[in-house]
């Protein structure tokens, strides 16, 4: 499942049609675009070939289901019930009868074909504008059969991009902390899964407490906090090889790690003598720099996408608030001034917003504000929730939410949720165990 083995042959058949369909993703979309995802057609020989290797009866259906599911969970599209489709998949892919698709109110149609050629999976798909009766896009991929889920995600990204004008976020993974056991003795493991919850895998055994994993935006490396040997320290993990190493040699607890946008530095906090300051360490030359120097708690640092600024959390005013400074620690400015406490600031990959957790009058909120602190907008309110992480296109936030226990202290749960920047489309992301501290990867393929 690495980038390397996914050999994508893009056979681009370019078409220049002025699309009539436009999906506006900047507003809350209460009328998702109705579209039809026709199952990818497959000849009997290919079907049998894939059934043998992948143990899936019809890989064409499976891939189209992935696309359909992705488009549905984006909240921007309404994939129509396949039972209403009048045209067979193979004929539709050759030449759709637009009147038929119009009849079931589909505004866009996705068709395609799967072939088993030389032990490879070849998938072509087409996106059609039903009202304009025109093809909008046609692409083909060839890859190893095991990559079939990723092909579904890449197709979803292409469709999303073509219809919204923005990059998608489906060919991505989520790293998170899996939680089990009683609240007073939680067993925590690092886990990783595809953005849609498939391919869940545990990366640590649960022998020591692990917290706050974060992806390197430039590679498949992860940084996280581990209590290995009861010494809470920031670690690096290479997901491909499983290699782990402690980051730097610090005289106290290091925590709250994140990568710089170029992936070359780790920024984190060091807690010592009752105060926490922010440090960076260059992963190549191992040079450590102290960025803040204040008797307060300075933590949860996050770089701006151009790497020039850092947002962080400090209680130097007396309570937890959000600050922005230059990347050398100069020019510190407080940006949160609303009622309540503010934590976990994280800079949007688009650069224009900072997402945060807010605590006010016993409720927790996930919200966003501009990088100067103006335009604060709260997206969701709950008993407990925190730690937003941005989708790589900056349109969706994933976070975790915990439930209140009953009078006997029972009923605790922790789950992952996502919400659109618009404040709409709030969804739980299913995980095999309880889950917290999610971090969204960059797009695996661009």
């Amino acid at each position: 499942m690495t980038k390397k083995i996914l050999t994508l042959l893009f056979i681009l058949i370019p078409i220049n049609v002025n699309a009539l369909i436009e999906v506006d993703i900047t507003r809350g979309n209460l009328n998702p675009l109705p579209l039809a995802v026709s199952p990818l057609s497959i000849d009997e020989e290919s079907r049998k070939g894939f059934e043998k290797i992948l143990k899936k009866e019809n890989i064409g259906y499976e891939i189209s289901n992935i696309v359909e599911n992705n488009l549905r969970i984006s909240g921007l599209f309404n994939p129509l019930d396949k039972k209403a489709f009048l045209q067979a998949p193979d004929i539709a892919n050759l030449k759709p009868r637009f009147e038929d698709w119009n009849l079931i109110k589909a505004q866009a149609l996705i068709t395609g074909k799967v072939n088993y050629i030389d032990d490879k999976l070849r998938v072509e798909f087409r996106l059609w504008d039903v009202l304009a009766a025109k093809e909008m896009m046609a692409l083909a991929f060839t890859t190893v059969p095991n990559n079939w889920r990723r092909v579904g995600h890449i197709i979803s990204d292409k469709i999303y991009e073509r219809l919204t004008g923005e990059k998608g976020y489906f060919d991505t993974r989520i790293i998170y902390v899996s939680e089990e056991g009683p609240k007073t003795q939680r067993i925590k493991k690092l886990a990783i899964m595809d953005q849609d919850g498939a391919n869940n895998k545990f990366l640590t055994l649960g022998n020591e407490l692990v917290l706050t994993p974060r992806f390197n935006p430039a590679s498949q490396m992860v940084t996280y906090l581990s209590y290995f040997k009861n010494m809470p320290r920031v670690y690096l993990l290479d997901i491909e090889t499983g290699t782990q190493e402690v980051v730097g040699d610090f005289p106290g607890m290091t925590f709250a790690p994140r990568f710089s946008p170029d992936g070359k530095k780790i920024i984190m906090s060091l807690a010592k003598d009752g105060k926490s300051d922010i440090y960076t360490m260059d992963l190549e030359n191992r040079i450590v720099e102290k960025i803040t120097n204040h008797p307060s708690i300075d933590t949860s640092p996050s770089y701006s996408p151009d790497g020039k600024y850092i947002t962080f959390n400090s209680d130097r005013s007396g309570y937890q608030q959000i600050y922005v400074m230059k990347n050398d620690g100069s020019d510190v400015k407080r940006i949160s001034f609303g009622n309540g406490l503010y934590g976990t600031p994280v800079w949007s990959p688009r650069g224009d917003l900072i997402a945060f957790t807010k605590l006010h009058k016993g409720k927790f909120y996930i919200g966003v504000m501009r990088t100067d602190g103006s335009g604060e907008r709260l997206l969701t309110e709950n008993y407990y929730q925190e730690a937003p992480s941005w989708s790589p296109n900056g349109r969706v936030l994933i976070f975790y939410r915990e439930t209140k226990t009953n009078s006997k202290g029972e009923g605790f749960s922790a789950k992952l949720w996502s919400i659109d920047l618009t404040g709409y489309n709030e969804r739980q992301i299913k995980t095999p165990t309880d889950a917290s501290d999610p971090s969204w990867s960059s797009l695996l393929s661009n």
Binding site: L211, P232, T299, L359, S407
Partner: protein, 163 residues
């Protein structure tokens, strides 16, 4: 340096007194939940264990605070006396926070609480070589309840024998 530290602690103590007296005048002695909390701070003994006879192992804190209360200072003086009598024993001070705060901030807050206890032990003659500070943030609550009493039990620094 050392004078400085003592001075700092005196200030902390003064601050604690001020905070306490401020609370007291505001709402009489705010005792609630079956007399187990004073203001925001746990005063019960449910979760307390003992390092030795008369030496409680933990101190409690108000929400978002790391100031030592009068009772906490008494507990820590007892711990310091016990440590002076047992010069071969080293300790880990485990700092904790309640669940009503963001994870990373709470890790820092747990460290600050354990350090407040450490500083106080040091002013009573315990060498810093004998003390390790370890923060668990909100990761290891003793009470899994979602109510003010449970949270007050969880905001704590626990002194644990290291050897």
């Amino acid at each position: 340096m050392r004078l400085n530290k003592i001075f700092k602690n005196t200030l902390l103590v003064l601050a604690a007194c001020l905070v306490l007296s401020a609370c007291a005048t505001k709402k009489e002695v705010a005792t609630d939940i079956k007399g187990q909390m004073q203001g925001d701070v746990y005063t019960g003994t449910d979760t307390v264990e003992y390092l030795a006879d008369g030496v409680p192992d933990r101190v409690f804190f108000a929400t978002n605070e790391s100031i030592l209360t009068t009772a906490s200072r008494e507990t820590l003086r007892a711990q310091a006396a016990w440590l002076r009598k047992n010069p071969n024993i080293n300790v880990v001070l485990e700092g904790h926070a309640d669940e009503r705060g963001t994870r990373e901030y709470n890790l820092a807050l747990g460290e600050r609480r354990a350090n407040a206890a450490k500083d106080y032990l040091m002013t009573y003659g315990i060498s810093s070589d004998r003390i390790t500070v370890l923060s668990y943030g909100k990761e290891r609550p003793v009470d899994s309840g979602s109510n003010p009493l449970a949270w007050s039990k969880n905001r704590r620094s626990v002194t644990v024998k290291a050897n």
